[in-house]
């Protein structure tokens, strides 16, 4: 018999550059914010679920979970580090939810931290590329922007969209997400790039053609944390628990093994179907989405695979404003990875941070009106680890 799981509190650091803080410090800062609004005592927390992708390469740090637990005074509780590339803390969140639902714990903390901006572009790009096939893709020097650049050209060809037209659609993803990030105080680009034009995106520095700098999320340092508990425990402590309605996860192999199916993101479709089934809802019931826009094309592919638009149509939907804050499905109202930043291991739980604040009507930035159901989507690797989470308030 599964128990209902709720979120009590959420926290995240400002995303950006934190060269004076360690991975442990960044987690701790986010943790205290989540702890403060959870109305619990430290002794209530029975386990720590921590997401981090490349601490070894950026900070020479691998054995992190015990240190982060100890840092915040959580003595001797089980603490586990999860690695699922860019979806690390979403994988950790889903595992924590399952443990609480199953009755192993009543209350647990989930979070993540990562430091890619301080690491610099060369190390950062190499670290992110550890998510591609280490032999058969890395031999050719395939990078992460490269993966999505390959997907972009394939998408244009397969759906019969001229590449220049697709680049315009992609530019609108960047314009939209930067606009929302510019008013989100936690975002890396807070106060910046709020009024981009298509030409700004097209003419910014080429990273991996056809993706320019403004088609890409930035390198980011940051941390995030979420405290979850069993329903009754949560209701006794907070006024507005946010419930985990459903989760889904799926896996896939290397990009080249997926062939032309890569633009359909089949593992994402499977994970989304699993989450919708568990929540007992359909895509049309979702009020807004925080999804994995690591690159502009990634948002378009995600919207289709999650089931919100037909394959080949999300770019047109973006142009028509259907994914804007006042459209039928607001997408990435917190600025997404593109505007808010992408401290990889912290990204999943930062999406949950934004979703929870929105559902409580407390979001600083573009607040989605009357939102009851939110969905988060986090992608790890080249469509290798997909996690979908559906949250709701009563």
């Amino acid at each position: 018999m599964r128990r209902r799981v709720a979120i009590l509190g959420v926290g995240m650091t400002k995303f950006g550059r934190h060269s004076d803080k360690s991975l442990v410090d960044l987690f701790a800062e986010a943790f205290w914010e989540a702890f403060k609004e959870s109305n619990i005592e430290l002794k209530d927390i029975q386990a720590v679920y921590y997401g981090n992708f490349v601490g070894e390469m950026t900070d020479g740090a691998a054995n992190l979970s015990g240190f982060i637990a100890d840092e915040v005074g959580l003595k001797n509780v089980p603490a586990i580090r999860y690695e699922g590339a860019c979806a690390s803390s979403s994988v950790a969140f889903r595992e924590a939810v399952r443990a609480v639902a199953a009755g192993y714990y009543d209350c647990a903390v989930v979070g993540g931290s990562e430091k890619l901006l301080t690491a610099g572009t060369g190390i950062g790009t190499r670290a992110l590329a550890t998510a591609v096939d280490s032999v058969y893709e890395m031999a050719a020097g395939l990078t992460f922007p490269g993966v999505f650049a390959l997907a972009a050209r394939l998408y244009a060809k397969e759906y019969g969209i001229p590449l220049e037209r697709l680049r315009e659609m992609m530019a609108h993803v960047s314009i939209k997400n930067h606009k929302y990030a510019a008013v989100n105080p936690k975002a890396q680009f807070y106060g910046k790039y709020g009024d981009l034009k298509v030409e700004d995106v097209l003419n910014s520095r080429m990273i991996c053609s056809p993706l320019t700098l403004l088609d890409c999320c930035p390198m980011t340092d940051g941390g995030s944390a979420v405290i979850i508990a069993e329903e009754k425990f949560a209701k006794d402590r907070v006024d507005t628990p946010v419930y985990v309605l459903g989760t889904g996860q799926a896996s896939g192999g290397a990009l080249f093994r997926q062939g032309k199916d890569m633009i359909k993101a089949i593992p994402r479709r499977k994970a989304a179907e699993m989450a919708f089934r568990e929540a007992g809802i359909q895509p049309k019931d979702v009020d807004f989405v925080e999804l994995h826009d690591c690159f502009t094309i990634a948002e378009i592919i995600a919207l289709e695979a999650m089931g919100f638009f037909k394959y080949g149509e999300a770019g047109y939907a973006t142009l028509e404003g259907r994914t804007s804050i006042d459209g039928e499905l607001p997408v990435n109202p917190d600025g997404g990875l593109i505007g808010k930043g992408h401290p990889v291991g912290a990204t999943g739980t930062s999406q949950i941070y934004s979703a929870v604040k929105q559902l409580r009507g407390q979001f600083h930035g573009y607040q989605v009106k009357n939102a009851r159901i939110a969905m988060t989507d986090t992608l790890g690797g080249d469509f290798g680890t997909l996690v979908e989470i559906i949250l709701g308030v009563e």
Binding site: S134, L211, F256, K260
Partner: protein, 138 residues
Amino acid sequence: MSSIPTFVEFFNNLKEGKLLGLKCGDCGAITCPPKNSCNECGSRSLERVFLSGKGTIKTYTITYVAPAGYEKEAPYAVALVELEEGPWIVGRLDVDPKVAEEKDLIGKRVSIFAKELPTEPFYPDKARRIVPYFKIEE
């Protein structure tokens, strides 16, 4: 059932101009580069076969920002090629990046060969890095 070629064996063959694949005894699909199970049906009934080394460009990108260890090679064009026998494979395009940027190369016929480039600390083969290259057939 043949043994599954290691990546070193695969690249050694490629260096000699031979593209090593695996043919499935159950569904007939070809898997390349090697893998422990058929990429289509998951069967372990796999036999070694040499492939034609010819295929078609399905998509590509020119990388301007390279990872640490690869900076000297940038800009370089990475492509996904669909081999005649079905599988897709990653490699570099043996073309001037400027040409790859100006022309639409998708659909061009290519043949595969190999070049040896410097390895780097995180690449699994610490001795060398053999890179599949695609030459466009006129």
